[in-house]
């Protein structure tokens, strides 16, 4: 399938410069420099503990960075709570373990944030929610609770929940890692669909097929640093660094 690249604009969506983060004494992110343009689809991969999840969690301030700067949509992330809440409402995130709200129905999961953060009237929020649930192909589950859905369905609800906030950027944190093999495809299909619609996406994933198919850029991280980044074709065909070669041989080798 031929990728559409027309979406990428010159507008900078995320600008990260010289960003460092420590967990206690552990230097988890080291001098990260990254610029993401609107419409760009990025896949971040790397061995576990390489800091890739921490990196995207810094973008919506689930983790606080200690040095350097992160500017999202022109707003710099500081300790100012108002800025943080604003950025979080513009940046959607999907988690490995779904993190749906188990005490609310699928529909309520989707309408909650628009109603409370955006102050959208309930009727309109419900319409948006149903539209998004249709997009992820589970409108019929709207009145069930998350506990009654399969893993794949829950993850698609989680994607719909984020989309209801009409985010300008989406972060995906190993969203298929907790799923049974039979369910990975339905979630990936949803993500591919989103990517084709031109959403700015950063996906931490080990799904190299997905990376090949939709990514504009693949970033390989190790030891808290960006080791290599390139277009997917080049990245997979001609990895430059030895570390990347080793990683690719390990995950593609079987």
């Amino acid at each position: 399938m031929e990728k559409t690249k027309i979406n990428i604009t010159d507008e900078v969506a995320i600008h990260i410069s010289d960003m460092n983060k420590w967990f206690g004494n552990f230097h988890v992110l080291r001098d990260i420099n990254l610029e993401v343009r609107r419409g760009e689809r990025i896949v971040v991969c790397g061995p576990s503990g390489s800091g890739k999840s921490t990196l995207i969690r810094c973008i919506n301030r689930l983790e606080e960075h200690q040095k350097g700067s992160i500017i999202v949509d022109g707003t710099e992330l500081t300790t100012d709570l108002k800025n943080i809440d604003k950025i979080r409402s513009e940046v959607g995130m999907v988690f490995q373990h779904f993190n749906l709200f188990p005490h609310l129905t699928t529909l309520e999961n989707c309408t909650l944030a628009p109603m409370w953060v955006r102050e959208t009237p309930e009727k309109e929020a419900t319409e948006i929610a149903m539209e998004m649930l249709e997009k992820v192909k589970i409108p019929e589950q709207a009145h069930k609770y998350p506990g009654q859905l399969s893993g794949g369905q829950q993850q698609r609800v989680a994607i719909a929940r984020s989309l209801c906030m009409k985010p300008r950027i989406m972060l995906f944190d190993e969203v298929t890692s907790a799923l049974d093999p039979e369910m990975i495809k339905e979630v990936l299909d949803t993500m591919i669909q989103l990517a084709e619609e031109g959403m700015t996406m950063i996906c931490v994933t080990h799904e190299m097929g997905f990376a090949r198919q939709v990514a504009d850029r693949v970033i390989f991280m190790d030891d808290g640093q960006i080791v290599e980044q390139n277009e997917p074709e080049e990245f997979f065909k001609n990895p430059k660094s030895d570390r990347t070669k080793l990683f690719l041989s390990q995950i593609l080798g079987h």
């Binding site: 809440d85 709200f101 188990p102 944030a113």
Partner: protein, 427 residues
């Protein structure tokens, strides 16, 4: 020798009914009472004990006397059965303490209103009557203690005006909630300090509505238990939530205050706190302050169970996966929104058994007020037994008091189980 590995299913096995010994009464008995030799022996022994207890209790209770004048008379008639006459003679006292007899309708009405006021809280489908639950506390205080209707209403009037003032500020003039809240607080304070008294005087002249005043020391019996218990339950719940949140707070000062409060209150016996309420507080307060004894007790009981409540709720908070906080934060919900909409509903649901446990404990602990010579049912039992006519009576009184408490506590327990079933959302 090699076995054949390849296998293909040839015919599908349809589901069939389980064997008869696994379902129905026989199945239940087998699984629950006679599942092994040891269990069978225990079952038989338990049944034996239940039978021998009931063998004595039923004739004792069933044949009891209800209409004798004293314990002596009972014993003369038949010493082997219960003498419930003490209840016939003194039930009013057990229910109302020393409350004036011609005013018994007031605590009775307060109790009926109580039942009506908790319905909207317990069952969301009656939530449209919640306004009654709001006015109930004032109504109950006025009915029980009496005095001028306006001196109670003025509290509601003042708070309503304060709230309206706050809302107007927010809507029209100010964006900052904090500053608006401070102005609204000052406004309310001015109202209560300077305006409320003359206004009450004026209203009393224009439309005098009042009930005869009944002082706190006259409150007693189950009326007192319910006053202390219900107020304590209602007040300790929100305080407990705030303490639990405070204890988890990132702000060190708030955290320290909450931890200090919880650990101090939990580390001290309730009786000590009640003694402080009844005796010591008078030393600390300026002379001549008349700080109502029932109010003092209610405050102590509330603080005591709020500390326990905080720990129970903290348990619920700890039981929530971190992902719930992260998910609500990632959607842009503020701290308070996420606490209210995501965290608390789940944490409280997990804590229901513990919360109700604390409520039940609090309600039964109200009997400790008898130590500081308030006349709750247990205190009254001693008073009644001091009467020559009933000297020496034990079982009948305490069984009756126990039964009354059991009804309330069992009610709470049943409601909590109903709530748990209702809130179950998985499967």
């Amino acid at each position: 020798m090699m076995t054949k590995i390849a296998f293909v299913r040839k015919k599908e096995i349809p589901p069939s009914a389980p064997p008869i010994t696994e379902v129905g009464l026989i199945g239940w008995l087998r699984q629950n009472l006679f599942s092994s030799w040891l269990n069978s022996i225990l079952t038989v022994l338990s049944v034996y004990f239940i039978v021998i207890i009931l063998w004595d209790f039923i004739p004792w209770a069933y044949g009891g006397h209800w209409n004798t004048k004293s314990l002596r008379e009972c014993l003369d008639l038949d010493p082997d059965v219960a003498c419930f006459s003490v209840l016939t003679a003194r039930w009013k006292q057990l229910l109302f303490g020393l409350y004036p007899a011609e005013e018994y309708w007031r605590p009775t009405l307060t109790f009926i209103f109580l039942l009506l006021a908790i319905v909207p809280i317990l069952f969301p489908k009656f939530f449209r009557f919640f306004w009654f639950s709001i006015i109930y506390p004032g109504l109950a205080v006025w009915l029980l203690w009496g005095g001028s209707f306006w001196s109670i209403s003025i509290v509601y009037i003042g708070l309503t005006l304060g709230a309206l003032f706050f809302l107007t500020l927010i809507r029209r003039y100010l964006k900052n909630y904090m500053i608006a809240a401070i102005f609204a607080f000052l406004f309310t304070a001015v109202f209560f300090l300077f305006i409320s008294n003359p206004l009450v005087g004026l209203l009393n002249v224009i439309l005098p509505i009042s009930l005869p005043f009944v002082e706190s020391l006259k409150m007693g019996g189950f009326t007192l238990s319910l006053i202390v218990g219900v107020t304590g339950i209602v007040a300790s719940f929100p305080i407990g939530i705030l303490l639990a949140l405070g204890r988890q707070s990132n702000l060190p000062v708030i955290k320290m205050i909450c931890v200090g409060f919880i650990e101090f209150i939990r580390g001290v016996p309730l009786i000590t706190l009640l003694f402080v309420a009844s005796v010591l507080l008078n030393y600390f307060l300026p002379p001549g302050t008349n700080f109502d004894i029932v109010l003092r007790v209610v405050i102590m009981v509330t603080l005591f169970s709020a500390a326990y409540m905080a720990e129970v709720i903290r348990g619920g908070l700890a039981g929530l996966p971190l992902g719930q906080h992260e998910a609500s934060a990632s959607l842009g919900l503020t701290y308070w929104q996420s606490q209210r909409l995501i965290i608390m509903p789940q944490a409280l649901k997990i804590s229901i058994p513990g919360i109700v446990n604390t409520f039940i404990g609090l309600f039964k602990d109200t009997t400790l007020v008898s130590i500081i010579s308030l006349r709750d049912p247990v205190g009254l039992a001693s008073t009644i037994r001091a009467d020559q006519k009933w000297n020496g009576i034990y079982w009948e009184l305490y069984v009756a008091i126990g039964l009354m408490f059991f009804i309330f506590c069992w009610g709470m327990s049943q409601y909590s189980q109903y709530l748990e079933r209702k809130l179950k959302t998985d499967k």
